[in-house]
Amino acid sequence: MNSERVTNINRSGILITIIVFVALVYTVRLFQLQIVEHTRFDKESTENSVKAIDLTPLRGVFYDRNRELLVENTPAYTIRITPAYYDTSNNRILEKIAGLDPGAIRTILKKNKDYSKFTPIKIKRGVTFTSVAWVEENSELLHGVDYIIELQRGYPAGVHGSHIFGYSKEVSKNQINADQYYTAGDLIGYNGIERKYESVIRGIKGKTFIIVDSKGREISKFKEGYQDIPSIKGIDLVLGIDAEIQRIAEENLKGKAGAVVAIEPKTGQILAMVSAPDYDLNEFSYVTSRDYLRQLATNPDKPQFNRATMSLHPPGSTFKVLCAAIALDMGVIDENTTLYCAGGFTFGRFFKCHGGVHGSINVTRAIEKSCNSFFYQLIFKIGLDNLHEYAKRFKVGVKTGIDIFEETGGLIPNTKYYEKTFGKNWPQGVLVSLGIGQGEISLTPLQLAFYTALIANDGKSFSPHIVKGYLDENKNFAPNVVNEVNTGLKKSAFEIVKKGMFLVVNGAGTATHVRIPGINVAGKTGTAQNPHGKDHAWFIGFAPFEDPQIAICVLVENSGFGGTHAAPIAKKMFESYLLRDKKEIKGQDAKSLLAKN
């Protein structure tokens, strides 16, 4: 071996210097991190592991006008998967148990793959107790599968109210972007009252603080939940709806296509609103099955379409009442003005009256007999644009402003409209049928119900609305503030028109079978011509005549004459609403009223 020694002390010194220098730099750096900046890093380290989780508040519930619970929150089971622990070979069996379509779990997991593998993913809401029991029993084989209890909507009153209440859906990305209240997985009102009053009934979210690890796994509560903020339940709504007559209307429209709207004339509150066919909100209370959606989508009668506020039909003879009131207010006729009916009216061609020749006839009789000739002539006295402007005051041909988003405005044509459709020299003949509510006029059942209410209450009411008021946690009631509607017509005009409507029921009119002993009902039937099939039947009416408390509009599509098909439904509702609990109705004897006319 070679014995040459490394004796270069200088080199050893350089190495020692380097070692000590690095040790010094690192010590200074450690001092900086652990002593000087300790507070900052300590804070960051706490923030790292403390996570705030939203507590979803209870949604406000809905009561009817008599405080009967219509829409409540009921517990429901939700099955969840924690991907980190879950074995995908269980997909098929779990899908079967949860009632999911084959392949659904894979799709859901794929959709959520960007989130932490330790965050549970809801795969099915509203599963049956049997399914949950099965999951519980087989929990040893189903790693990463659990369930939680969430709240879903329940409808305890046996009232469908599908188009009134509406339902909620999971928020979309756009909705989350638009309103920072929401986070993924939240529910938001999709239609009906649930949507319109979303901001009131959703409540205020709370927060719970938990300690999580770097993968988002929950370790424990932060400070034993001492700093948690409880959620605040949404505000309860009291609806103007009367559960009983809502039920009656729903039952009587079963198997038909049509709509019923009942309004309290003095307040504008909606007492009942039905669109038939309707659908089962229970199916929407959480995730809706594809089968049910398919069934709804393929039904030719479109159950999800709100006929009460969106379907447009000519109002038929029910429109005569409005024309009469307008003419009387304008002064182009008075109570005694008679027009001649020769069984029809000639304007270019012959327009037939029904029920034979009425001869000279005044406005009340014309309403009673539904004399077409009278109104053929009357429309020329009123004038097209006056009709349009007056109608607007009755919220006819425009949106009424009801408190749901699903509403259409309808159409009362004016000169402009005809010029646009037929050109400058549009044929004046088209006006003739407007007088009897046919032709281009198309209105919603809600508009008809509301103008009936306005007529019943002498031209004054409030915008039609479903929500009567709010209840806070102490059940203190606060009324819903709505706009007043005043048509500004002369009171006498309404009195005369109402007399005519009284005669329709109580005289020799078209709805005599609506009479109810002890209550004086006033009404008007109508038949909307339907080029596609059988005519649509209309009935509008209010009661009691002396002090109107309810105004109703009934539409039964493709049925025929209004008096036969629509009026009986209204009669049942009048009876129920006004005679409930054998309430005494201080009505004058119908005969004595008749004698005055």
Partner: protein, 420 residues
Amino acid sequence: MRNPFLRRTDSRQVYYTVNDRFDLSMFIAVLTLLALVFLAIYSSTQNTVIEKGNFLKQSIAVVFSLVVFTVIYNLPTQLIKKSSVPLYIFSIILLIAVLVAGRKVGGAKAWLYFGSFSFQPAELAKVATILFLANFLSRNQTQIDSIKDIFYTLSISGVPVLLILMEPDLGSSLVFAGMLVTMVFWKGISLFGLFLVLSPALVMGAALFGGLYFFLALMIVLAGLIFFKRDLFFSGSILAVNIAAGFFVDFVYDVLSPHQQKRIASFLDPSSDPLGSGYNSIQAKIAIGSGGMFGKGFLSGNQTQLQFIPEQWTDFIFCVIGEEFGFAGSITIMVLYLILFIRILRIANMSKYQFHSLVAVGVLSVFFTHFVINVGMAIGIIPVIGIPLPFISYGGSSLLINMTMLGILFNIYRTRKNYS
């Protein structure tokens, strides 16, 4: 009973105290570090499902490597030098084998599996290269400033580096660079020789960052050549070698898979992958900083226990100590390493044989490079490079090789007074 340390090995020398044959203070420093391993690895893995077995595995590795240490300590010293060539060849074969048959873990093909036993050939290559390089440099005829011997020296360390770079494992490659520079420096290389050794490394490193840096590095080399005023032909060849080295890096980079290229890119610029190494770096600083003066206490560090730092039982183990034992704990670790480094340097200084002295410095450079990179990255001074902290990080191969190197040092220490 007979004192086991009191043994006559030759007629002239008798050892009376433990310290004559055994560097007790260095051994105690290492034992303390090993004890800290248990605390740190237990703390960092007790909450995990998969890594919980690490504690037991590391305990077995500690016992096994202590046995290996004892065996090597008692080997005849001559065997160390004799084994250097076969060991070097064997480790090169293993490095090739791992590229062919290795298993990919964490993006690098660095592990060889023999049944349930796994091993990192790069670790063995560290010892083998130290020994072979020391052997070569300590030859009588080796002229460290001759271009021929510099070329041989570069080749001896260059072969394992290239193979390890292909895994790719940049951290280990850097350790070899540190080893090479320290050992030729210790051998007594002139400034010009050091320049020759460092220049290709500089150029290759710069080439990774792109054309502009490559060009700047070449300018620096050119400036150096002008400064040393060697003849034109000689300087020209050196420049040519450097340019070739730069293009070679480019060539290797192109051969690498996109995934490996991405790894290198994020190594060069951690902020390019904030949720990867950038995230680790931030979380590491938070862990250490939040430890404060005396730390949050054993098993009470939320960064550690809630696993905000990935690989906290290997590359980021220093964070566990920093968070749970604070500044006091960190400084204790630093002091223990300082003792280790200075005692090794002492062995290098007192060895009669140049081979032994070079081996000691080689081992020192390996430990030191590991320490500088690992701690430096935990405290955010150096970019994130995956490399274990000697004796403390979890990992059987690394611990076994560290204890082997320690055994060699103690063996050298034991026989330092022997003359053959």
